[in-house]
Symmetry: C2
């Protein structure tokens, strides 16, 4: 399909019912446009399958390097995803570069300054990113999300069903007779944190239960220390103490076990704990951690494959892939 | 100092007592040169402070991105170093890109294909790399090593005294009365593994002891599973069983604790364990792990600062920085 950029911009303008200047402004990020107009133009682009390299200012034809952005290299969960990404890239002779985006890269401009000076053929985001930044990036460079996703953006992703997995975890704690359940979560700006919290609270509600505010924590990073402080605080009042924890990371679950033992409580008799991820840490603690296994390696592998497909075939439609999780019962709840 | 490339090559040839063609061959990696001649030329380059950007084919003046190469994102030890690197780079407005070099990038050509297509201003290696590859890279791009180093190459680094730290760990196990000490090490292609093994064996020898071959393991990656298998095997014979382990990673030490418990052995009464690194994992196990604390964050911060200094002042001489470690005694040996 050999369409010149000019023709395409005209087509988009016609399809969206706006001027060529408006389309150009949106593509080139010059001046302000009303959100409504912006959406109209993006919708038109999508209908017209507007994904030509001509406008991909930040991607470099002929480059064989992809960039992976993630929040944090300290969280061992990410290491397994990266192994999957690396394997898929290697199979098709691509280089993988990575970046700890964290709180440093949050706007389109942050990414642009980096991407302009480096020849990246595509972007894989394992990182919470706003719909607007994602769509700006996706106009200029093939983008796929992995693990952490943004439902509102027109971007392909591979992840798990976080809501259903959190329901499974919570139902399991209810099934072993626990009612007073605390929740160690990450910040709600993360889609996975919002989904898991909804799954947790809905399941409690279905059983006629609530989680008091003082038993819910939203930790700013996947940190053992932060989780240890939160769990210790929640377990310190003998008159008002949770009898189980649902932790959205095995790192947090390990901290609950540590906190409980320090306070002389038995796991699981006094406090049961379920984690998330099934990283090696879940086998290092004593007792070992009951957890929701994520197919992390597969997630990385499939997301990278999807990105490479998109790079080789820009017209590929947006795909959303959900991989299965599995409840693994160990001694922290038995 | 405004010297043209041509003049400099002539100067090097004169200094080394070889032809201009020979110097050019070595710089451009064309044809073969005897190792002796190569060394002569490299020595001359060093004497002449040959570090002009003119020859730095792979570095890009004006780029504000550095590349960090490490073996493995699964090892949480690396995550802390990266945080330090990131902080130093951010302070001076540099981007940090990372790469899992592992066993994929082992020759100069592997790196060259990547670096040619990306505008990196400098390279930070946390990765075992041969002296030859390092010197090839250092001719073309500022290079600093961090944590894992190569003594034979003319490259700046920031690390710890691995030999002395291993002696400290071993002496401590001897001081609590343990004689039959097993050793869980990484592959000896790593400088840190060779240094720690020498420190361990020399200290045993000083006490009139040896470590039998069947109690020494060299694991191919920092993997909990591999270490668990090795430790389980070593602990399985009741008639020939170590009473202590020195593990060169807290991940390995966590595996020793797991293996011992599975076999019904008590830690530390039956088997004492000392690890290395002082990552969070050393607090997650029960008992908590006695370990050698590495100043990982500082190491990353200082190595990155050194690289940025070198980028801004190419004439900066090679520096070797050793940071202090500390023995932290916890319940796995008490």
């Amino acid at each position: 399909m050999a369409i010149s950029t000019r023709t395409t911009i005209e087509e988009i303008a016609q399809e969206a019912g706006v001027s060529i200047a408006t389309v150009s402004r949106i593509i080139n990020r010059k001046g302000n446009t009303r959100e409504e107009t912006r959406k109209k133009v993006l919708d038109a682009m999508e209908r017209l399958d507007y994904s030509l390299n001509a406008q991909r200012l930040l991607s470099h034809a002929g480059s064989n390097t992809i960039l992976v952005c993630l929040p944090d290299f300290r969280n061992p969960y990410n290491g397994v995803i990266i192994d999957g990404v690396q394997a898929a890239a290697l199979r098709r002779s691509y280089h993988v570069l990575l970046m700890q985006a964290g709180d440093i890269y949050t706007t389109f401009d942050d990414y642009e300054s980096l991407l302009k000076n480096n020849t990246m053929a595509g972007l894989l985001l394992i990182q919470q990113t706003s719909a607007q930044v994602l769509e700006e990036l996706a106009l200029r460079c093939p983008v796929v999300m992995c693990s952490e996703v943004c439902e509102e953006a027109r971007v392909s992703y591979v992840t798990i069903d976080n809501y259903a997995s959190a329901r499974t975890a919570t139902q399991y704690l209810l099934s072993i007779g626990r009612r007073r359940i605390a929740f160690l979560n990450s910040l709600l700006r993360n889609n996975y944190a919002r989904q898991r919290e909804a799954g947790f609270l809905d399941t409690l509600e279905g059983a006629g239960l609530v989680c008091p505010a003082e038993w819910m924590a939203h930790l700013s990073e996947v940190s053992f220390d932060l989780a240890l402080a939160a769990a210790t605080h929640m377990l310190s009042d003998p008159d008002h103490r949770p009898e189980a924890f649902f932790a959205v990371s095995d790192v947090y679950a390990a901290a609950v076990i540590k906190a409980a033992k320090k306070l002389g409580l038995r796991v699981p008799q006094d406090v049961a704990v379920i984690g998330f991820d099934n990283i090696d840490i879940s086998l290092m603690t004593d007792p070992a951690i009951t957890t929701i296994q994520q197919p992390s390696y597969q997630m990385g592998y499939q997301a990278c494959s999807l990105l490479l497909d998109k790079m080789e075939n820009p017209a590929m439609p947006v795909k959303h892939v959900l991989l299965d999780t599995e409840l693994i019962v160990r001694s922290s709840t038995l």
